[in-house]
Symmetry: C2
Subunit: 281 residues, 2 copies
Amino acid sequence: MIRIAFQGATGAYSESAARRLWPSGETVARDRFDDVFDAVKAGDVTHGILPIENSVGGSIHRNYGLLLEHDLPIVGETELTVVHNLLALPGTSITGIRRVFSHPQALAQCEQYVRTLPGVEVVATYDTAGSARLIREGGLRDTAAIASARAAEIFGLDILKAGIQDFQDTITRFIVIARDPVPLGPPDKTTLAFALQNAPGALFKALSVFALRDIDLTKLESRPARGLPWEYLFYVDVAVGRDDLRCTRALEHLAEFARWVRVFGSYRQWKVDGASPAMLS
Amino acid sequence: MIRIAFQGATGAYSESAARRLWPSGETVARDRFDDVFDAVKAGDVTHGILPIENSVGGSIHRNYGLLLEHDLPIVGETELTVVHNLLALPGTSITGIRRVFSHPQALAQCEQYVRTLPGVEVVATYDTAGSARLIREGGLRDTAAIASARAAEIFGLDILKAGIQDFQDTITRFIVIARDPVPLGPPDKTTLAFALQNAPGALFKALSVFALRDIDLTKLESRPARGLPWEYLFYVDVAVGRDDLRCTRALEHLAEFARWVRVFGSYRQWKVDGASPAMLS
């Protein structure tokens, strides 16, 4: 029996992402990202799903931070095209809206549209679908929510305007965590983090352990480790399973000179329409 | 006469960043990041200042996007430690607060603290300092703003609690743009973007043009170019001025195989306490 914890309320984008992987799995709403990790750790659920990267907003550093703090492996991933909609109670018109509720990130993704609504107060909430619920439960006739079409359906709201995000092609990538490292499919992708000391050519050397073994990178990001002024942290996705001998050897090679290396998990890369996503190499 | 455009209202963090560079320069408030670019382009101001990276939130992709859209060079940078404060009219106590106003990013940076305020409605606004002004102008006795200490001073608010950000050591890096590529000091740093076609070892090859010439990288980030499914975009900072022969040659080398290369500017690296920030190399 699959039970997947997600952050937000019923109708959240994370819940839709979970349904892409398990159409008939049971989804369990949690308030915060931390709570999703805790639910997985406690065994209340079999899996947790978390947004990790957005094509407009970039990496969701909070969830990378939680991956570092916890010891729960990534076992899968999925992607979702984000379509934000302006929702309101039936009978409410756009000109009658005085307030807009949504999660800060959704508000930011729809900034240009929201600015076209004159004299509207923008209210940040903890989740998109929860905003839709607030409107339904409170009978708020002067308020709109920015949320998914599914949230409209669940809470009986009308879609006043669909696709209001500033960038039409906004995609969010989600990772799936579990207590045990049992991947959802044969792994062909591995996510890791490592830290390097400040030394000439250190990053080039780090990438060479993959390049010289013909391992492609699908993500690379540097972050200053602010508490440690002479260190840098890297988030890397490589297009190879951890048990592939090339990967094992590359990680051993990396450990020879990195300050530390942490593998978050090895899992099946999300395939869109049967085609593999592009690789950086 | 130095006139610097910044996004937000008087008392914004961007304005403080401008004052670190020009203590007696004239600062000009603008509503949106786009407006800062437009003010510089039109010659209404001599410079524009923009947040580009935050140690907790990561890169501010919107401003990278605007750098790509416009043709205005980066001529300088500065850094600011972000200290968020809970501000209210004198006489308001924390228990009397019913609403909190601030910019979505500041609200996100103080999420843990805000959650400790029971039954408070969180309202997103277009800027931190503007929230403080709203409270002063509206005489809102049940509302607090999250903003800088300077905003408290300007709008006559009390600091109910200082340093409420979730991560104490939150630093924002700001870039300075101008119409002409006249750097604020002798350039020792260059910011560029480039796109690579999906080919084995392409990124490794791209980094080798710098590594083989002993040029250190201080930032590296990959982004999928979503409209172009087989291309990736890279943002890179290198610790060398553009006119340095090594840099000139590295850029020529990169242009041999990159889809395109764009240099955003060459400028003086911000030095903290006389020491140069760490480098990735």
